[in-house]
Symmetry: C2
Subunit: 450 residues, 2 copies
Amino acid sequence: MGEGRRGGLRKRRFRHPAQVVATAFGSAIAVGTVLLLLPVCRTAENGASLLTALFTATSAVCVTGLTVVDTERYWSSTGHAVILALIQVGGFGLMTLGSLLALFVSRRLGLRTRLNAAAETKSVGLGDVRTVVRGVFAITVVVESVIAALLTGRLLVEGQPPGRALWLGVFHSVSAFNNAGFSLHGDSLVRYQSDGWILVPIAVAVIVGGLGFPVILELVKRTSPRRWSLHTKLTLTMTVGLLVVGTLFVTVSEWSNPDTVGTLGWPVKLLDGFFHAVMPRTAGFNAWDYADVTQETLLGTIILMFVGGGSASTAGGLKVTTFILLFFVIVAEVRGEPQVTAFDRRIEPRVIRQALTVALLGMAAVVGSTMLLTELTDFAIPQVLFEATSAFATVGLSTGLTPNMGVAGQLVLVVLMFIGRLGPITLVSALALRQHTRRYSLPEGAPIIG
Amino acid sequence: MGEGRRGGLRKRRFRHPAQVVATAFGSAIAVGTVLLLLPVCRTAENGASLLTALFTATSAVCVTGLTVVDTERYWSSTGHAVILALIQVGGFGLMTLGSLLALFVSRRLGLRTRLNAAAETKSVGLGDVRTVVRGVFAITVVVESVIAALLTGRLLVEGQPPGRALWLGVFHSVSAFNNAGFSLHGDSLVRYQSDGWILVPIAVAVIVGGLGFPVILELVKRTSPRRWSLHTKLTLTMTVGLLVVGTLFVTVSEWSNPDTVGTLGWPVKLLDGFFHAVMPRTAGFNAWDYADVTQETLLGTIILMFVGGGSASTAGGLKVTTFILLFFVIVAEVRGEPQVTAFDRRIEPRVIRQALTVALLGMAAVVGSTMLLTELTDFAIPQVLFEATSAFATVGLSTGLTPNMGVAGQLVLVVLMFIGRLGPITLVSALALRQHTRRYSLPEGAPIIG
Ligand SMILES: [K+]
Ligand SMILES: [K+]
């Protein structure tokens, strides 16, 4: 019991960093909701309804991309600009706050930070904050500009007027790099299904944005893979692995589906297979209608969405490091190693327990909300699971259920987007900071497993 | 690399106990297939087809209960007797071999066995084997006799002729205690949907059979809960928890479903809710048609099936201890404890890694086979997932897909029943026995999670 009280005290003392993140995102959503309620943001005479504004603001700040209305037609140009600003604020916030939280945690645990060589202090100093903010800002500006230029070029060639081409290019570039998936086309990118000049830059922006700031920084600073940190190696391995396996799986699953790419040539099949292996992690653009995909694609996409992208990135999901660590646990078990190792580094049981906790609680959240949504609506389980995973992992892909979910269902999705976006980040930092030592050791128990 | 070779050597040396189990079950299935191929086992002139005999023998020996034909009409009385014998051999083998494996593992790891006070040896002695076989035999005879007497009594009251009543009573009692779920009625137990005198004894037999021999032995020998082992405490806690939560969930989910219990009184709703919370873990009898249940029930039942029953029991699934341990990991994480503890016992990271490995590989097997079966057949994902989980966890519940799966699909189910039945038991013992030490320690890596 004394133990419990000590835990309680520590909780109050250390909850801060995670609370900061939750408060920041809650405030951004509140401001976004108020802005989107202004009549000037609407194409029609009246302003948006409260639920529509709240849902859209949450979806934009959490860079999800699920929508209850047609973004192109429902919102005015001002509305589009507000949504773009919310996406940028959300994505920037995720990269910086995610990086700072990770930094804070590693400092508290007495590890040397890899971000700079400053002396170890108990908290994250102003120097760190400046480094991170500057770095994220620079990466964001560079990537978004390049991609916007490429997209604008394509749209000019297509014959769009220059102003419109630039606006569309910037919007989709920002939406892609921040893994937001909002599009100014009612059909997302289905009209560009065979257009590599559009799809490839967007996919690249999504992948880079989804690696996470710590990884991007290392890739920029250190050219020799040997000097990469374990985190970077794990993230890159899993990212490349999921891209290759995902592309093969999706391409094969849709190869002869006439409703998606079955009637098209093999280069387009491969292009779209690649594109739809990237988008579930967790950008949310689509160049085919997910209401038309095969059951295998639906299931595979759900798994890709759940895993998501890199830590301290604009991508959602439970993060690639979480799952590749669980994979290394299995490898260690099967090889009979007493310690879990990855790339010649020892992984502490503490870290494995964190990964396990995040994965299991994530699974519980998705399964639980799927049951709740199945109860609240009349939709079939696979589609509901798809939508719930898309919201939780802040992907934004949809088989078309979200607009027809009803008020209760949409509110569930709002909550799911918020906890799915902030849950894994804040949970892990809260867990890592709360660890304390027991003053006595208990005898070992050995239950039978399996 | 020297490391790998050492692991390889150890593998060859210690693979034995797990291999014994797999060989024993493989042989029993082979003998069962040959017996069921005999024309005397069929009601028709010709003998059964090879696939039907193989599927039925596997289903009986693995105490699954999935069927490709109507057990009542397709097989003769001799066939029924063969099936009953296969069930008894399978269930008896699971309890004894499961217990001996656990004993062998705990001996190898230098822990004091709880089964008797014999001196510690490097292997399981003849005395242990005798104790276990005798104990399982005694428990089996006692429970099966009591339940058979209760069922026979009910059937006599119903007006069945004495010989028939006795046969039906014995068959369903054996099928229930061994968690086999085979029934001599084409509709399983739907005709007894409101009959507590039939359903409750069967549920009790299923629960007792699903606790596992180590737990039953302790319950018989030690009346004071304080002296129970951690394994018994964990098994009982999770069993009671799943029964209570499962009953509530299933009852509420089916409360107003006119196709199951919606039109019946509340006592029957509660009785059937309880019965169908017990049957997924992993008996496989049904008193309503699973093709008619709500989506919530379908999803909840899949989870109950996947978890299954107790270790070294007649129940399948990944076992209750596996999952309750993962739950305690989350508790430890959230409380910030450096060690995972349960009921004042320390759980070693090694044990947690085993539980995690079993759970993840089980999940992979079910999801992978669901994808394969979705590809091979035209059925919808939820139903295919239900059938695959039912086969893997050797439950035997069905929404009616199995007979219509086609040859390839049914062969997948045969494999799934076999690896689902033996996988968790043998995997854990193999993992536990192969653990060896590294001669040098690596620097710690600290990837970001979540
Ligand atoms: K997204
Ligand atoms: K069964």
